[in-house]
Symmetry: C2
Subunit: 229 residues, 2 copies
């Protein structure tokens, strides 16, 4: 019964999601410390649901809970990010193999239509939307391989690198290239050319990886100032 806020109840789940967004959007800056009491006050709930959300976020790797000390937003570790990209490449190569063998032409054609560089349909310049679309492309391919576990791990990796990925679509050039890359990959798959698809995919991901590698923390701080909304 919050008198000033009729947005009804805020559940533990909501807090988890909101906190995750805040971390990924640098609203909670890496390295900073948050306390349960502070967050509880901010969300107008007790410490209990906040606590649960924080523990889930710790398992997500978004923050670290040091016993009796507090929660610290996890730093962005460039080396670790590179390793995530490395694993991602290995998994996406595997994903392509499965998709190439099992994914029906019909689904691939749908995907191709969606990423046709000449068609502006479904195109968005909202960064968050683009990140979602980009992820869904890769996830769709993984799903096409028929291996749900593979999908799960790729989603997990996406969670970790999303903090960078959303900085990846601030330039239109990168955006255009993404459309072209995706389209070409699907074309290779339609021809059942695994080698070609894998080569293209590897380049595509490596491009992102390099972008991430060259990022510095100061750049991250600058990007953060661009998001006061």
């Amino acid at each position: 019964m919050t008198t000033r806020n009729e947005k009804s109840r805020v559940s533990s789940q909501d807090i988890y999601n909101q906190l995750k967004d805040m971390i990924l959007s640098f609203e909670l800056y890496p390295g900073s410390r948050v306390t349960e009491t502070e967050l509880a006050a901010r969300f107008q709930v007790s410490r209990t649901p906040v606590r649960e959300a924080l523990q889930r976020l710790e398992m997500d790797g978004c923050l670290v809970i040091r016993p009796k000390q507090g929660c610290f937003i996890r730093d962005v570790d460039i080396i670790e990010l590179t390793q995530y990209y490395d694993v991602r490449i290995a998994l996406e190569m595997h994903s392509l193999r499965g998709a190439c063998l099992q994914m029906p032409d019909k689904e691939l054609e749908q995907l191709a239509a969606q990423w046709d560089p000449d068609s502006q349909k479904g195109r968005s310049d909202v960064v968050d939307t683009m990140v979602d679309l980009e992820e869904s492309f890769h996830i769709t391919l993984a799903a096409g391989s028929g291996n749900d576990v593979l999908v799960k791990y790729l989603e997990d990796i996406n969670n970790r690198i999303r903090i960078i990925r959303r900085l990846d679509f601030t330039e239109k050039a990168r955006l255009d290239r993404t459309y072209r890359d995706h389209f070409e990959i699907v074309q290779y798959l339609l021809q059942r050319d695994l080698e070609g698809a894998q080569l293209k995919m590897r380049q595509h991901i490596l491009k992102s990886a390099e972008f991430a590698k060259n990022l510095t923390l100061t750049q991250l701080a600058q990007k953060r100032r661009l998001r006061p909304a």
Copy 2:
């Protein structure tokens, strides 16, 4: 100050670990339902730490929490297990690539000595110990690739398939074969023969996967018959 039990306090972490063990050892049988109150009573603590442990276990995929209904131990899904093995192969292939390129001879020779089929040193017939040793072999190779993230994911996969893996070392034949496989893989790596190592490793894991698949079916059938319902 528990009068009858001087093992002092049981923390949320302890409960998490114990519950995980109980699930992996079928003490809490898949499909069965557990309540917070029941576990709290069993561990002689309040619901709070139990709740935290359960939420972590849900994120681990060990159980499912249905809101306002209860916690259900996750079923062992044969198809899912197969998918875990599939992903594992992809990652271990990648792991070998890194190890072949970067792991120094000295470390590899240590590993070889440890798994020399002719040496009985460090050999154990305790199933749990063997599972630990087997896992540490694969993890050591992954660590040798220098990619900590890769290690993390392989450990996660190990967590999922351990429930099966521990059934894998009940026959001496399987045990001997494991020693031979591991030894040969390291030999390939010492010769920096990536292809050979990968081929052997793939066979090694596939053998486990098949073994697990068959064993699980019979195992589950037996367990099912024991169920009162």
